[in-house]
Symmetry: C2
Subunit: 224 residues, 2 copies
DNA sequence: TATGCTTTGGTGACCAAGTCACCAAGGCAC
DNA sequence: GTGCCTTGGTGACTTGGTCACCAAAGCATA
């Protein structure tokens, strides 16, 4: 019991024993390969997913066919917004895609509902996750409206770079992430290159001047 | 009992009698004048508000000092996103301002928590409200990223016009509503005027050619 | 290995929108 | 009335998004 996945979630470790075991028995661990569509518009979500490994990218298809990146769910977080739709029996308008191989604890509607009813700790966990997600959305809107593209791109590069400082993404992908066009990414990256902050090769960007990017991000009164 | 405010909320009318009376006894009707700040960042929300009369505008102050309009709560709806913060004991990052005189049923945290625990119908009400709000935010992001300003302004004018077709708002206010600059509103309105769709006077816009605005909105594959 | 297709990235021209600086007219307080 | 503040208008300029291309890199396969 003491090695349960439950302990990977800060808000859940305080659960009393009876609730813990109901949660463990009433849920199951699932694994899906990278690229899997985890949920999609028009398809009712039946499970709340708590991510154990990997990342899930949540985006929305616009009426015009293009896509907007909304947020990314990391290990230790939950796809909590789907719960609204689970309990409301409404369709979700965004889709979620496994960016890497993913494993997660899947809590079916029945278990979820029962835990929300029984456990104040579980309720707090769920609403805290909500609150964080919603705040993130607010910040996203703020960024889109007021922040310059070069600052947003710099921040995103720093966020996506691996230990070696390499970002594995095409210009087109970076474009969708930031809700802009590929050309804009190309132009901005050329500018970053000119300043000696990045090197480019096909499908990846090497961050060579973290400090410069960081200075740019900080200079715009930005946070995180 | 049959004239209770509860019946103004579709999702609540199915509440069983014991829950209904708990809700009525555990909440109170409050009224505030137009312009009141109903909740603000850094101030914990203590009540879930169910709006009976009036409208509340929810916006966020950005780091740069400017404001982004997020959404508007109408009579018959709830400021449900504040519940996330109520139960998560976290601060809300947006502020809510009464646009008109407002009356609302205020449900304190204690009552809210107890109802969520006891009543599946109440849970569904809450999560449905969430789901709608979140979907709205997604649509907003989509609009901001992909929709042209003239289309967005046209849609907003149609939405804000009273029965006489008059919108009471300065260019600056319309600017914040759409997350753009006053100048852009001025220019776009001049263009609408040139096309005979609106007349302007200080602090208000008269919609004289609904059909034209509607055509513009429809032409861009927009909904609602 | 040559041939062609697809993916990725680069570029110039153009348009839409945000920013800046400034001015003019309307309304209000005194 | 006089001055002040709010509201709206305008031109010049920058940033970002769109469109139409093209070139180079990778890949399949004949």
């Amino acid at each position: 019991m003491e090695d349960s996945w439950i302990d990977r979630f800060k808000g859940l470790s305080r659960l009393p024993d009876d609730i813990r075991s109901e949660l463990e028995k009433g849920s199951q661990i699932v694994s899906v390969p990278a690229g899997t569509q985890i949920f999609a518009p028009g398809q009712t979500a039946d499970n709340l997913l708590l991510l154990l490994e990997g990342t899930v990218r949540v985006q929305q298809k616009s009426e015009t066919g293009r896509e907007v990146f909304l947020y990314r769910v990391h290990a230790g977080e939950s796809c909590v917004l789907t719960t609204a739709c689970m309990l409301a029996f409404e369709d979700y308008s965004a889709d979620g895609i496994a960016e890497t191989d993913v494993s997660a604890a899947a809590i079916p509607r029945r278990t979820f509902d029962s835990l929300v009813a029984k456990s104040p700790v579980f309720r707090e966990f769920v609403f805290t996750a909500y609150s964080r997600r919603i705040t993130d959305l607010f910040t996203l809107i703020d960024d889109i409206v007021f922040q310059r593209m070069d600052v947003r791109l710099a921040a995103r590069l720093l966020e996506l770079a691996d230990e070696a400082g390499v970002v594995h993404a095409t210009h087109a992908v970076l474009g969708t992430e930031l809700g802009t066009a590929r050309e804009v990414i190309s132009r901005t990256l050329s500018e970053f290159h000119r300043r000696g902050w990045v090197e480019q090769s096909r499908g990846e960007v090497h961050v060579t001047g973290r400090a410069g990017l960081e200075r740019l991000v900080r200079s715009s009164g930005a946070q995180a």
